[in-house]
Subunit: 377 residues, 2 copies
């Protein structure tokens, strides 16, 4: 392998695939990035057991030359050293040349590195995703579906399926659901497909989705789902993730269909008031704050810590429908939910102070957040 | 105590004094900031055993009102909670009112906090710095003297005096020296005083100087030195630091007065080449890189790690005077020194490959960096 490549293009490509390289593995080949020069340009690949990312740099695009392949071939280089070195090279043009023993010369200006490389035949193969269900989504829609649900996956692995976001599709509607059993996030979207697509129980690890989210640009994403893998195909990037084994719980029956109290208010004002109240709720109070809806003009947000002090604040509301109510909940869950709703005005629907309550944007039901309250004395 | 104060002014003042509040102490009063409202406005104080910072907010300055004192008094509030709360208050105007039991009401818009306060009589007194030697320095000069020396203090406390910067003054010249016994940084400056000032062995903890540096604005600083304390007096801030006990070593005899090799080169080009070479010198090589001056056009910077690979780079020089030379040194020390010199072109003077060498800006000797080389096989 022998190529001449633009430094900044190479830096970006290394950053993209490095998201799939584990820093904690002790298997040398898995600490590496695979470089492959071929007729179309160059391909970089990073892989751990969960995620694989393949990034292609085409020789030429829109009349600009990004990489010149003098001799095809491949090598695996340590991701950290290779990445650090390329970032600090002195000139825009970088020459990479691999010897038969995989010793790799990286030259830029008068600086010359020789890195010990590894045989790319030892590098893990990419997962096979032949067949499977396929559909296409706008990249920005997928990004917002991830942002609105992935934060609510379980962190602890006591029930592994809950560490993922459950994707399902039926009748032209794609649904993402996540829950850590204290709260739930749901986002639905219409999508167009050539064939009728229907699937359920496709559980993508939250960690994979967070990494994917950083790679989503403009344009669209082609999604392929097989039994064990999901592939997100973008213009220059293939992103593979393992799916989680097991059955995702039926969350539909958790969501109350009726309510006894509905409060409409400005999301940002509520978020800021809860943020302030949570300052005193952090440590000994386990983030629990109180919410009292007892009039038609404002709700009271309050919190009390015997050691530190107390706080209370009136937040004006747009409307109160139904019964008055006092309820306590985890302020972090509420702040996460309010940020995820991404709306100016929201409605909160309660069915009593010890029942789960839901939030959604006023006059919109394609996104929903559910929170379990905390019982207080 | 009862005041109305501008939120942003208060945020800034809290940040300033919080630098002196230890987060690790278990003594409640030392986790606090003392607030005092008086005839001139308001004073905030933070203090640990090493540093005390007093910040005054005058009632009015340049026609702008910053604080209105309705009732004089004082209280001590937990620095972290108070700081976090004030930062998140909803309106520009903040009312603070202290009850006789030190319960403190903080009100802003419809948000109302009640914080448990402490009796300010329990708060440590500020050090006494009556008498002592006094002089005045431009703030930017003091900042650059700190920046050029404080990085080279010892981190380990095996010889406590080396964790400080040694200040001395004689014949209108102020000198700062620091060394961790592997390298040394020295900065001299002329300064004007009304009386003849002469002192030596004034050892200020490096940590204190780093905190002071963040508070130095424009204008000038009045410095007062007593046996155990140094006071830096700025327009709104008093900064007290304990001095280190003990005798600072005589460093003047460490600095070679002659040289056998002198190389002049661009500081930035050398810094970047050493930064690159250090990428392979980090772990198993303990940051050691090689420097070879064997011609009149360039020096070679190189490094070799059996596990990772090797790197070499030619860096052009302005001149080589004297003998050819190969030497090895810690790349981190060299990079620190080059950054501290703050010069376009520098001269490095060597007296052999196992002797300390010095760096200074070409045609300037008010700043000097010394580094001990590393013996390699």
């Amino acid at each position: 392998m022998h190529i001449t490549i633009q430094r900044d293009t190479l830096i970006q490509a290394i950053q993209d695939v490095a998201k799939a390289v584990s820093s904690r593995t002790t298997i040398p080949i898995l600490t590496g990035i695979k470089l492959e020069a071929h007729g179309d340009g160059m391909t970089l690949t990073g892989s751990d057991t969960e995620i694989s990312i393949e990034r292609t740099i085409y020789a030429e695009e829109n009349g600009t030359s990004y990489v010149t392949v003098h001799r095809a071939g491949s090598v695996v280089l340590n991701a950290r050293f290779f990445g650090d070195i390329v970032k600090k090279l002195p000139t825009d043009e970088v020459i990479i040349e691999v010897s038969p023993n995989f010793m790799t010369r990286i030259q830029s200006g008068t600086a010359e590195f020789h890195l010990n490389g590894l045989d790319s035949d030892e590098f893990p193969r990419l997962p096979q995703v032949d067949g499977g269900q396929q559909f296409r989504l706008p990249a920005d829609l997928l990004r917002s579906m991830i942002r609105q649900t992935s934060f609510a996956v379980a962190v602890q692995e006591t029930r592994p399926v809950l560490t993922g976001v459950n994707f399902s599709a039926d009748k032209g509607i794609l649904t993402c659901v996540s829950t850590d059993s204290h709260r739930l996030a749901l986002r639905r979207a219409q999508f167009e497909t050539e064939n009728e697509i229907s699937f359920q129980n496709v559980i993508v690890p939250g960690k994979s989705l967070n990494e994917l989210s950083k790679l989503l640009g403009d344009g669209h994403v082609d999604v392929t789902i097989t039994n064990q893998q999901i592939l997100f195909k973008m213009k220059h990037v293939l992103f593979f993730s393992r799916l989680l084994d097991g059955n995702y719980p039926d969350t539909s029956r958790l969501i109350p269909e009726e309510y006894r109290t509905a409060v409409r208010m400005n999301a940002k004002e509520l978020l800021q008031a809860i943020d302030r109240a949570s300052l005193l709720a952090r440590e000994d109070r386990n983030n629990v704050i109180k919410f009292a809806a007892e009039g038609t003009t404002a709700v009271e947000i309050s919190s009390h810590s015997p050691e530190v002090g107390k706080v209370s604040e009136q937040v004006s509301i747009l409307s109160l429908e139904g019964e008055e109510l006092k309820i306590s909940f985890n302020s972090k869950y509420m702040m996460d939910a309010l940020k995820a709703l991404d709306a100016t005005d929201i409605e909160i629907q309660f069915t009593g102070s010890i029942r789960p309550f839901i939030l959604h944007p006023v006059d919109q039901d394609n996104v929903l957040q559910l929170i379990l309250p905390v019982r207080t004395a």
